[in-house]
Structures are given as C-alpha cells and as structure tokens.
C-alpha cells in the first residue's frame, strides 16, 4: 500500500509560476474570446497580449525586488529557480516581446494576423521561454524549449508564403535533430550523476573528481550541438539565413533576440561550471566556436546582396561575440552579456522593423529578393527621416560611439582583456571592424547613390503609427543608451553577482 504523499501547499511556492501563468492565461483568454465571438480586429488581440505582457513584467519586477532582498527563490519541488539571471533574462524576453507585438498593427493586411491563434501561440511561446530560463532542471528546460520552439515554427509558417513554409519545415526538422541531441546529452548526464538538476550534477561531478570525464565530454558534445543550433553557432547555423528570409522581417528580428537570450541563459547554467572547473576541452571548443562563429558569419555577411540576409548573418556574428562571455565566465563578462543583449534588442529590432515597414507584397521586375541593397539606394532623397533612422541603427550595430551597441562591445571586450583573453579581445575588435564594412555599405547605398525608380513606392508603405512608435522607441533607446549604460550596469551586476555567476 502506497503511502499517500503529503505536500504542504506553502512549500510549493506556487508564486514562482506566476509570470509564466500570466502569459498562459493571456493565451487562453485570447482563445476564449475568439470562441465567444470570432472575426474581431487584430488590434484587440494586440492590446490583450500587451496587457498580459505588462502584468508579466510587473510580476518579474516584483520578483526582482524579492530576489534582491532574500536571494534566490525556489519553488515547486525546486524545479522552479528564480535567480538573478532568470529574472533578468525574463525581463529582456518580455520587453522584447512587448516591442514586437505592436508590429502586428501594420497598415497592410497580412495573413497571419487574421488568426487569433497567432497571438495565443505567441503568448504560449513566451511562457515556454520563461520556463526555459527559470529552472535548472534539464527536463524542465527541455519542456520549455520545445513549447517555445513548436509555437515558433507555427508562427513562421503562418506568414503564408512558400518561403515561409520552407523555412518552417527546415527549422522544424533541424530543431527536431537538435532536440534529439539535447535528449542524448541529458541522458548521459543523468547516467553519470543520477540527477537532472544542473547544480546537483555539478556537485556530484566535483565530488568524484570528474572520474567519468569521457562521458561528461560526450554529453557536452551533444549539448554544444543542441545549443549551437539554438544560438546558431557555426556549423549549426545553416538554418538561420533561410529561416530569417522566410519569416516576416518583424519575426526575424524577434528571433534574433528573444530565443537567443533564453538559450544563452541555459548555456550559462550548463557550461560555466565546467569552464570554471578547468575542463580544458570545453574551453578550447568554446574558444574555437566563438572565433569561428563570429568571423565566418561576418565574412558571409559581407557577400550578401540582400539586407535581411546580411542582418541574419550579422545576428549570428553578434551571437558569437556574446558567446565569448560564457567562455570568459566572469561576473563582468556575464554582466556584459546581459548589457549587450539588452542594447542589441533595441537596435536590432529597430533595424528589422525598418525592413518590415518597407515590406512589399510583390517583387518588381529584376528584383531578386525582398530587401536587396538596391532597394535602399538614394533613400535619403526620397525618405530622409527613414534613411537617417536606418543609418542610426546600422551605426549602432557597427559599434560606433556613442550609440547603444558600442557600450556593449566595449564592456565585453573589456571583460575579455581583464580576464587575460587578450587575443580573443583582439579578434573581437577585428571582427567589429569587418562588420563595419557591411553596415556602412547600406549607409553608402542610402546616402550616396541615386534612387532607383520603382522602389520608392514601397518605402513606408507598411508603416502605421504603432510601427513608427516602435521605431521611435528603438531609436531613442539607441541614441540615449549613453545615459542608461551606467545605471543599467549597476542593476545587472547586482543581479548577476547575487546569482553566483
């Protein structure tokens, strides 16, 4: 006869689920509203999503306060783990989502926004990402990851063009393979430690002095392959350009930010303790991975003829750049990771939104892709303000002071130098220089070439007030980052340091 299990409800600390639950409730309410009365305008769903995201953010800020007072909050049989980096990354996720969702309010109609499911899936996806970062349980991470990924595949496919279907299928297939890698990796870890919680695995491995180093490394090989896919590290990056090209520009921008920060957090949890234990193999592999990823993708970005693909490759390069923080593994570098990503969110979302407002439904004669460089040539003459905005985002991405990303780059390179990774710092700086070339190329097209007849009719054809607002917010965030960097750094350092990273 089995003893009934008694669990005191208080010990569950259900509150740790609150942020994700808010997102899920949001998703469900969207579905219910649609059941009750169909055919409502998309702006309603956008507003509902925004409202719940705001609540979500509020809950997170509240957790932030509690965390700073009492330290890490555990809950639900210690599956939920609300530490500083979980809270920080969730804030970036939610804020990024809040900036993304108003982009649905375009002036042209698009297929996906006619479905309320789009918004419901979006909220489920956010909940998935939140679960993924707010735990160190390998199974929970897996569930979160798959929830989010499955929703994301569907969101891509809903764009309803052949390229989108292609992208979704490719992403799905490769994602399945990566999920397999992840499962194998977790399995090996469980086999050698008998636990699925990363901190316990770490303790057990430390206690027996890495006796099973061969298995550990094998599991890490799987894990690197799995997260290399998510973070699009070379050579697991091949999906990125195709998927970005297939999805709407807005979603591509979103994908370059939110899923990655979630993956970064898991990678931090999973890899950093090994890096700190002096597992040389992992250090070497990460070093090579970081250098190859940022350099190779930079070089590929050089030869792209389409702005969106260029931005896709440059996003890979940025991810590689930030991955260096995990390799370095100091508090300073981890702080740099969050700072960089927060600044990057604004700039990159702004850049992709600029593509989104210039979205055209049909290609004109002789046009090879959605956003060739030629489309933007001479833009300063036809749309001076838009050209200036785009130029601003490009300058920031290239890391020109005083715009946003410069500070992120500086802080990360600084952390590399102060941890003795001088060569790595040099490579990072060199890559930033190479990247300058293709960002400036767009500026040259916009400011120094003559307009090509035919394209100008598409400039801003998709713009609406809410899109312009988002661009404005992104621009303000990029320009005034100078003043935000110091306070931001203080807060981030506090959170990261108190989480033990």
């Amino acid at each position: 006869m089995l003893e009934p299990i008694h669990v005191a409800l208080g010990s569950l600390n259900i509150a740790t689920l609150a942020p994700m639950l808010i997102a899920i409730v949001g998703a469900l309410s969207i579905l219910i509203i649609d059941l009750a009365k169909g055919g409502l305008h998309k702006s309603l769903y956008v507003m509902i999503a925004l409202l719940f995201l705001l609540l979500d953010l509020g809950a997170l800020v509240d957790f932030g306060g509690v965390f700073l007072k009492n330290g890490t909050i555990l809950g639900f049989f210690d599956v939920m783990l609300m530490d500083g980096i979980a809270i920080l990354s969730q804030i970036i996720i939610v804020v990024g989502s809040m900036l993304f969702i108003p982009l649905a309010l375009t002036s042209k109609r698009f297929h996906e926004y006619d479905y309320p499911e789009y918004f419901a899936l979006f909220m489920f996806m956010i909940a998935g990402f939140q679960f993924m970062v707010a735990t160190d349980n390998l199974i929970m991470i897996f569930i979160g990851l798959e929830t989010a990924s499955l929703a994301l595949y569907t969101l891509i496919a809903l764009h309803n063009r052949s390229k989108s279907f292609e992208a979704a299928v490719k992403y799905f297939t490769m994602g399945a393979l990566a999920a397999g890698f992840y499962a194998f990796g977790s399995m090996i870890l469980y086999a050698i430690s008998g636990s699925v919680e990363i901190n316990q695995i770490a303790t057990i491995m430390a206690e027996d002095h890495y006796r099973n180093i061969g298995y550990v490394l094998l599991s890490m090989a799987f894990m690197i392959a799995a997260f290399g896919f998510k973070l699009s590290m070379v050579p697991f990056h091949t999906w990125t350009p195709d998927v970005y090209e297939g999805s709407s520009a807005a979603l591509a921008g979103y994908m370059s930010i939110v899923p990655k920060i979630a993956a970064f957090v898991v990678a931090m949890r999973l890899f950093e303790f090994l890096v700190h234990s002096g597992v040389a193999w992992l250090q070497v592999i990460l070093y090579i991975g970081v250098v190859v990823t940022m350099t190779a993708s930079n070089i590929w970005a050089l030869v792209q003829s389409d702005v969106k693909r260029m931005l896709a490759y440059s996003s890979i390069s940025h991810a590689g750049f930030v991955m260096a923080a995990i390799l370095i593994g100091t508090t300073q570098s981890n702080t740099g990771l969050f700072l960089y990503w927060a600044l990057f969110s604004f700039t990159n979302l702004g850049a992709f939104t600029m593509l989104w407002v210039n979205r055209q439904k049909n290609l004109i004669a002789g046009q090879s892709s959605d956003h060739p460089y030629e489309k933007f040539s001479g833009m300063v003459k036809t749309m001076p303000m838009a050209a200036v905005m785009m130029g601003l985002f490009m300058l920031s991405l290239a890391g020109i002071p005083p715009f946003g990303l410069f500070w992120g780059k500086m802080y990360l390179i600084g952390s590399a130098v102060s941890s003795g990774y001088t060569v790595l710092a040099l490579i990072m700086a060199l890559n930033s220089a190479i990247a300058g070339y293709y960002y400036l190329k767009l500026i040259v097209f916009m400011f120094m070439k003559e307009p090509i007849v035919g394209y100008d009719q598409y400039y801003f054809m998709n713009a609406s007030l809410s899109l312009k607002t988002i661009i404005g917010i992104a621009a303000v965030g990029t320009i005034f980052a100078v003043f935000a960097v110091n306070p931001l750094l203080k807060v981030i350092t506090l959170f990261v340091y108190n989480s033990g990273y």
Binding site: K170, P235, I299
Partner: protein, 628 residues
C-alpha cells in the same frame, strides 16, 4: 549672480538653436527678432554682472565635470572677473547691435534663418572663450569661434571665393592652434592643472626656459586668431563674408581673442620680458605693414580689414610691453568704432549693390546722410582725434612705447597713426565726397533702413565717449592686471607729444581730403603712380599671398599628389584592397555551405557533432594517458 552668469552665457546658445530649428525653412523675420532679443538679454545680464564686479566681487562657478581621469581633472568652470566682464560687455554690446542690424542687412537673403543660427552660435563660443576659468574651456571657445567664423565667411557657399576664403581662414587658424595646443600641453605637463588660478600661482616655480616656450607657443595661437604676420593673409580674404560678420567677428571680437589670451596670461608674460619685446616689435611691424597695404587698396572692406590688422598690432605692442590694461582698453574702444565703421560700410555696399571699389562711388553724402555722419565720426575716432575714443586708447599706447624707452616702436606707431588717418579719410573722401561717379555705372543708391541706423547709434555714442570711462575702467581692471600708470613725467614733453601727434594726424586727414575729395575719374592702372614700384608692391600685398602660393601651397600640393599617387594608391590602398579582397573571396568561396538544401544542412549539423565527439574522445584518451 550665478543665474545671470548662466543667462549671459546660454542665451546666445538658445538663440542659435532656435534659429537652427528654422534653418531649413524660408526666411521668417521673427527668427532674427528672437535671436536679437536673447542677445539683448545676455547683454543685460552682463551689465548686471558688471555692476556686481565693480562693487568688488567676482563670480566663479563650476557647472559640471568635463573630464576626470586619473590626475586629469577639467571642469566646465566659468569665471566673471574684472577682465572677463569687460570682454563680455564688448562682445554682448557689439553682437546685439550686429544682430539687430543684420535683420535689415540680410533682409533679402535666402539663408536669413541660417545666418542667425551661426551668428548666435558664434557669440556663444566667444562667451565660452572669455568666461572659461581654464585653458581647456578657453580652447573649446577658441575652436568654436573658429568654426563659426568658417561657417560665416563661407556663408554664401555657392561663391567659389567665399568658400576658399573660409577654408583659408580655418586652415591658417588650425596651424596656429597647433602651437596653442602645444602651449597648453606644456602647461599641463609642468603644472599639472589648467585652471587659471593654479597655473598663474605656480608658473613662477618653473624654469625660465619652459616658461619661455609656453609663452611662445601660446602666442603662436594668438597670432593665428589675431592674424599677425605671417599668418595675416586670411583676415583680408575673410571679407568675403556678409558685412555684419566682418563687423562682429573680424573687427570687434574674434580677432581680439589673441590679445585677450595674452592679457589673460599676463602672469606668464610678465616673467618673460624678452618674448614680450618680440610681441611688441611684431605688433609695431604689423601696425605699419598693414597700414601701408591699406593705403592703395581699392576694396572698401579690405581697407577696413587692414586697418583692423594694424590696430591689432597696436594692441600687441601694449600687451607685449606689459601694459595689459592699455591693450584691453584699446581692444574695447577699437571694437566700438571699428564695428561702426564696418556696419557703415555695409550700408554703403547695400546702396551700391555690392560694389566695393570706393573709386566708383563718390558724393554719396547727399543720399546717405546718416551713414556719412557715422562713418566720418568712426574714422575720426579711429584716427585718434580728441575727444573721441581712439585718442584715449591709441595715444596711451604711444605713451607706453615712449615711457618704456622703446623709441623705435614709438616712431613706427606715430608714423602709423598718420597713415591710419590718411587711409581712413581717403576712404571717407572717396565714398562720400566729390563727383557722383556711380552714375557712370547706373546705380541708384539709397539709405539703409531707419532701424539699422538706430541700431548702430549705440556704437556711435560709445565711439565718441568711450574714452571718458578710462579711469573707471582702470580702477576696475587693476584688481587683476598690473596697475602701472604710464605718464610722461615732463609736462612739456607730454604736451609737445600730444599736440604734435594731433597736428600730425590732422595734417594727414587734410592731405587725404585735399587729394581725394574732388576725385573725378575711375583709375584704370595707367597713371604714373599706379605703375610705380611701391604702388605695385603694396597693391600686391608685398607679394606675400603669391609667395605662400609658391613656397607652401604648390610644393605641398605636389607632395600630396605624390603621396596620393605613389604611396597611397600603390602601397596603402593596394594592401587594404588585397586584404579586403581576400576576405571577400573567402566569403564567396565558402557560401556554398549555405545552399538551402535541407539534407546538406542536417549533414552539417551531424558533421559538427561527430567532430565534437571525436575531439571529446581524443581528449579523454590523451587525458587518461597523461593522468596514468
């Protein structure tokens, strides 16, 4: 009082930004009015500060930290003391007048709003220059006025000559600024601070050699801004800018910044009298040199510009001989009558449809009474006739030369005073008297707007009465500057000198009138005088611009061409291109990894995993081998 300081400083900036907002839109009168109003506010604040300073206080504020790294600490600090308040008054009075005048002068210009944006920005920079409490702030203002001067000389940028003159002025100043920067570096290096009070307190502890170098390098900066020989050529060419600009920047304020620098650094120059003698000698030379070029010139504005140059020479004589307060006093008086002269010239130019050759004018006093009176009185003041402003300030410099026993300098300055009177009245006589030669060219001159004349009247009043402030002024600045009184002790000598000078000057004026008041034809270069050697020498400005062209510009251009064709294109560019092409080629060759085929993509992932696994195994084997 801090509030007034900030108002005085920032009102012009607000005006500039406000005007800049409209710089893209068509002309609107209110821009000029708002900018002038803000300037007037700045003037009022300066006046309030003046009364405060006269009651024996100074205002010193530190607005914010600018740089703080290691030992280097430079704040944005501002000081209103006896010297800077005088400069503030000069700057705000002249600029307020010029702003109001410009509303009329630029009436028909398309860039009306842009003009006020630049002009107010200039005033702001000038205020930063004079109010800063350290050399770094001074340098910011110094560069700021240089930039605004560039923008204003080249205001009519569609004119080739204007852009050329703007660039010339800017580049010449940059060359001199390098000297100034070295001086500032030397100060920081040796003293460890750039704050005036610290520097001046500690400068005496340095070795004389170092002080000398500091003095020389700072003076090089001053030579550029104040257009002293051999960096003088830009000032005459700068007359390409609108006339109010010439009045404000190239007569009253910016060009006197060099004098201000020397006066402000009196603690440094007091320690190095040899450099002082050099400054004075150069000043005397420039006074004569510039005046001689003004004798034959046939461009109204250039004549006045040469006269400015000559008067700057006077100021440097005073400053070089240690009579800092005299230099500053002449600076002030000169600002008033020279700005007046320029604005009058602007009226004439408008009347004559931008004709600048005084030989093509004549008899204008009939149609332009107001301008005639003002320009004549300004010329009288410039010539230094009692009781006008010039008499008090200029004669004082002569006395300084005499009392300090520099008789050569004294003689040169005396001669120059005569030349000054001659060319000034040559101009007045040619413009306003004699036959109406303009009729040959079908021009119908008219007087300027009433309010422009009214706007000029404060300057007229000051040009007449500024001399009477002498003692008040002396009491004020002697708190900060060496309070040496320059008196010729022997009464007889004094009176002979004074009256002699006056008679000499009056003789020069009468000679000019006699020669030019009844001029009837337009010279065409055929007369005997025009073919004489000296005339040609002066006419071509001693061939100095030509010399610069031959000695500096042409070889430099040749050198640049070689560097471009041989070094840059063949070595630097080729290397860079090779690297870029290499990277680009790598990209082209490896992009096949991305062929869009799903099977290939999956294969790449598996390849990645396999490689990682092999590495893991290899590492483990190696690890175990080493461990065992």
């Amino acid at each position: 009082m801090e509030l007034y300081l900030y108002i005085a400083l920032f009102a012009p900036l607000v005006g500039s930004l406000y005007s800049a907002l409209f710089s893209g839109s068509p002309k609107s009168q209110q821009v000029g009015i708002v900018a002038s109003g803000l300037l007037f506010t700045s003037f009022l604040s300066s006046a309030i500060l003046l009364t405060y300073v006269m009651s024996g206080h100074t205002v010193h504020v530190e607005m914010m930290t600018w740089m703080a790294t290691g030992d280097l600490y430079i704040p944005f600090g501002f000081v209103v003391d006896q010297v800077s308040v005088v400069m503030m008054m000069v700057v705000t009075i002249v600029s307020t007048v010029v702003h109001v005048y410009s509303i009329g002068y630029m009436d028909h210009d398309k860039g009306f709003n842009r003009f006020f944006a630049w002009l107010s920005a200039f005033v702001f920079s000038m205020m930063v220059l004079v109010m800063s409490d350290n050399f770094a702030g001074l340098f910011i203002g110094w560069e700021g006025v240089g930039l605004c001067s560039w923008g204003l000389i080249g205001f009519w940028y569609h004119k080739e000559s204007a852009t050329w003159a703007a660039n010339e002025a800017f580049i010449m100043n940059r060359i001199a600024d390098l000297g100034m920067l070295i001086g500032i570096f030397l100060i920081y290096w040796n003293v460890g601070s750039l704050q005036y009070d610290v520097v001046f307190a500690e400068i005496g502890n340095l070795q004389p050699v170092i002080i000398t170098w500091i003095g020389i390098f700072l003076f090089i900066g001053a030579m550029g801004k104040s257009a002293q020989f051999p960096l003088h050529t830009w000032l005459a060419d700068a007359m390409e800018g609108p006339t109010p600009v010439s009045a404000l920047i190239h007569a009253a304020t910016m060009v006197t910044a060099g004098v201000y620098l020397v006066v402000r650094s009196n603690a440094i120059y007091d320690l190095i009298p040899n450099v002082g003698i050099f400054i004075a000698s150069l000043g005397a030379f420039v006074a004569l040199f510039a005046a001689s070029m003004a004798l034959v010139n046939r461009d109204m504005k250039r004549i006045i510009a040469y006269s400015t140059l000559s008067q700057l020479g006077y100021m440097f004589v005073a400053a070089g001989l240690g009579a800092y307060w005299v230099a500053l006093f002449h600076l002030m008086a000169h600002a008033f009558f020279k700005a007046l002269l320029f604005l009058g010239a602007g009226n004439v130019m408008h009347a004559m449809h931008d004709e600048l050759d005084p030989f093509k004018m004549g008899g204008l006093r009939k149609v332009m009474k107001g301008t005639f009176v003002m320009m004549t009185l300004a010329s009288v003041a410039l010539a230094g006739i009692y009781p006008f402003a010039g008499f008090f300030s200029k004669d004082l410099i002569l006395e300084v030369g005499f009392v300090e026993h520099h008789y050569v300098i004294y003689t040169v300055l005396l001669l120059t005073a005569g030349l000054t009177a001659f060319y000034s009245f040559r101009l007045v006589a040619l413009i306003f008297h004699g036959e109406e030669r303009y009729k040959l060219f079908g021009i119908h001159p008219h007087e300027a707007y009433k309010f422009m004349l009214v706007a000029m009247s404060p300057l007229l009043v000051l040009a007449i009465i500024a001399g009477s402030f002498k003692m008040t002024y002396f009491q004020l600045v002697m708190n900060l500057l060496p309070a040496t009184q320059y008196h010729v002790h022997d009464q007889t000598t004094y009176w002979i000198m004074t009256i002699g000078t006056q008679l000499f000057v009056i003789a020069a004026i009468l000679f000019a009138y006699k020669k030019y008041a009844n001029w009837s034809n337009v010279p065409d270069g055929s007369s005997a005088m025009e073919r004489s050697f000296f005339y040609k020498l002066l006419w071509n400005q001693y061939y100095i611009p030509k010399m610069y062209e031959e000695i500096f510009a042409k070889p430099y251009a040749e050198l640049s061409r070689i560097a471009w064709k041989q070094i840059d294109l063949k070595i630097v560019d080729a290397t860079v291109d090779a690297i870029a092409n290499g990277i680009y080629k790598t990209g082209e060759n490896t992009r096949d990894i991305q062929n869009g085929n799903l099977s290939t993509m999956l294969r790449w992932m598996v390849v990645g995993l396999v490689v990682l696994s092999i590495l893991a195994v290899a590492f483990t084997v190696g690890y175990n081998a080493v461990g065992a």
